[in-house]
């Protein structure tokens, strides 16, 4: 790689920096831009389109949709926590048919790249969902949410067991268009996330999305009971970023050819760059969107400046850069 290191300082404000080729790919899905929304943090894109042009970012990852309409859980569904939040939405949504008819149609017409996230209560449901999407136009990739800790049936966290995880991926693969890459979304709540990544890769996943929320809980000190109606909820936001970067690093280390969509607490371009350096090919911005509705666009712009300041001319060169061997000058130093 040839790079002229532009150090930060007075000119580090983004002025006069060369443009960076931000294109990247998640398996066969080629995208000109690397920053996506995160499932469940952008609905189906329409609301965010009021704050920035959603066709200018990598794309919209839609809220995980199930086969049938779902009311979700009772409220309270959220609690704020230090540098993060808990949620327990319970996958509220219109069901796949209404989703295709309304949300997906709108996204297609709007010209936004779309990653459809699906969630099921059984291997069969995942298969059916994939089949429903089979001949639908305008889907860049399918993200398979096998890790949501919020589903009503607590036994069913597919992402926590290598076998169930791979069964789901197989069912989705079998039933979906081979040209549409399948991204398995993993949970950090496992003893060894690499094992899960390996098993979904073997089952046919073309990429992984890392990480979903981690299970947490808050006690409401007025009611002296759990703050969420769902008792536990998913922890997200900057609080979990170090955990997410670690998961991306571990998976990229073990499976350097498996594309990773990285996420977890990304707040700015520097945060996004950590994920890229750790091995992510693209990133999603989730919870921070609640703080800043234009966050995905802003993060993408900041990421470009951050790359340019470090002399990168393409995003692709930066993917996994933190895993490189010792730099030449470091080697020289050691030999002294």
């Amino acid at each position: 790689m040839s790079r002229a290191l532009i150090t930060s300082g007075p000119m580090g404000s983004g002025l006069n920096l060369p443009a960076v080729d931000m294109s990247t790919s998640i398996a066969s899905f080629e995208t000109p831009m690397p920053v996506f929304t995160a499932s469940g943090c952008a609905a189906a894109g329409k609301e965010l389109d009021q704050f920035f042009d959603i066709t200018q970012i990598g794309g919209i990852v839609t809220k995980s949709v199930m086969l049938n309409a779902r009311s979700g859980r009772a409220t309270p569904r959220m609690a704020e926590t230090p540098s993060g939040m808990l949620n327990s939405i319970g996958l509220q949504g219109p069901g796949i048919d209404a989703f295709i008819e309304n949300d997906l149609a709108w996204l297609r017409q709007r010209g936004a790249r779309t990653v459809v996230s699906i969630a099921g209560g059984s291997v069969e449901e995942y298969g059916k969902l994939a089949a429903k999407l089979r001949n639908v136009e305008g889907i860049s990739a399918i993200e398979v949410n096998i890790s949501c800790p919020n589903v009503e049936d607590r036994g069913q966290v597919f992402a926590c067991d290598p076998n169930s995880a791979s069964q789901v991926i197989q069912a989705v693969k079998r039933n979906s268009d081979t040209r549409v890459p399948i991204i398995a979304k993993l949970s950090p709540d496992v003893t060894n996330i690499v094992t899960i990544a390996q098993s979904v890769e073997r089952a046919g996943a073309d990429a992984v999305a890392v990480i979903n929320t981690t299970l947490g809980m808050v006690i409401n000190l007025d009611t002296m009971r759990p703050a969420l109606a769902g008792i536990t909820g998913g922890l997200s936001g900057p609080a979990i970023r170090p955990m997410a970067v670690r998961c991306v690093w571990q998976i990229h280390q073990a499976l350097p050819d498996l594309p990773i969509l990285g996420m977890g607490g990304i707040r700015n371009g520097d945060d996004a760059l950590q994920f890229i350096f750790a091995g992510a090919s693209a990133v999603s911005v989730g919870t921070v969107t609640f703080n800043d509705p234009s966050a995905p666009m802003r993060v993408q712009n900041e990421l470009e400046v951050a790359l340019a300041m470090r002399g990168f001319t393409t995003l692709r060169e930066a993917i996994g850069y933190a895993h490189r061997g010792p730099d030449l000058d470091e080697v020289a130093e050691e030999q002294e």
């Binding site: 943090c41 609905a43 609301e47 009021q50 009311s71 409220t75 949620n87 069901g95 609640f290 234009s294």
Partner: protein
């Protein structure tokens, strides 16, 4: 019209009883504001551990003036975020998103309106009262709270109202009791056509019940915990009956905060009614 995201400057901070009124520059926002809109304010800057914005009803909106547009909000200290907010000083910057939500619907023709505010819930009723009177409506206001100090703006709202009735649970001001203890009478006296209400959930439920019993159309502005305020997170839902008669868990930030009183399933707020669309079925 789409909400704006902007940085506003604190123009003025003044105490009003238990509350703090913040005036903020907000170019473009005032022009878009209708009575019942709210805005969202970021707490504590980029390194703050408090990630979520806080929501406040827009109390006043001045679209002209030296500052090219400003808005006022009324803040009651509840927890860490509101505490931080009332500590702001003149010239501090605040991150603002708004106007948000569905505002109150105004009657096309002159009508007799009762405005009911609980605690700081009177805040959005000022602009509403003004606009109703501009349309030739009669406006009667009921302001209620647990105690006198928790009332907001009772002196000022008098100006826009034909009558003002104050209730406090401890009798420290006005009638001892709750707003619903006087509502029925005032409906009769004023031959009310519409009731507008903003305040705690319990009060809204009670007001909606009285309105229903009397056959008066009611609009209630609810307050649910919101993570995003812009419709993308699904945390702020409550069970609302649609035009088709089906109950859905509906986002109060974009489909509310103002709802028709007879559409919210008040006694089931905080639950998912078993007949709601997509409600968990037995054995699931």
């Amino acid at each position: 019209m789409a909400p704006l995201q902007l940085t506003g400057q604190v123009l003025d901070v003044r105490r009003a009883g238990m509350y703090t009124v913040l005036s903020l520059t907000a170019p473009g926002l005032a022009e878009r504001t209708k009575p019942g809109h709210f805005l969202n304010i970021g707490i504590g800057g980029d390194e703050s551990g408090l990630l979520l914005r806080r929501s406040f009803a827009i109390y006043q909106a001045q679209s002209r003036g030296v500052y090219g547009g400003s808005v006022d909000i009324v803040v009651g200290v509840h927890g860490k975020g509101t505490q931080w907010l009332v500590e702001r000083r003149r010239h501090d910057n605040l991150s603002i998103v708004g106007p948000l939500g569905k505002p109150f619907t105004l009657p096309k023709d002159p009508a007799n309106c009762i405005l009911v505010g609980g605690g700081y819930g009177t805040a959005p009723l000022f602009m509403l009262a003004d606009q109703l009177r501009e349309r030739g409506c009669r406006v009667d206001v009921i302001a209620g709270a647990a105690t006198e100090e928790k009332l907001f703006g009772t002196l000022e709202i008098k100006r826009a109202a034909s009558t003002l009735t104050v209730t406090t649970e401890d009798g420290s001001m006005g009638v001892q009791g709750r707003v619903t203890d006087v509502l029925d009478d005032i409906i009769t006296k004023t031959s009310a056509d519409v009731i507008y209400a903003c305040g705690p959930m319990g009060m809204l439920a009670a007001v909606a019940n009285v309105a229903a019993a009397r056959g008066v159309y009611a609009q209630c502005s609810v307050e649910e915990s919101m993570a995003c305020g812009i419709g993308v997170c699904m945390t702020c839902v409550l069970p609302v009956i649609g035009d088709d008669g089906i109950t859905r868990m509906v986002r109060s930030c974009v489909e509310g905060p103002v709802f028709r009183g007879d559409r919210v399933r008040w006694s089931e707020v905080g639950t998912v009614p078993t007949d709601a669309l997509g409600a968990p079925t037995e054995g699931h």
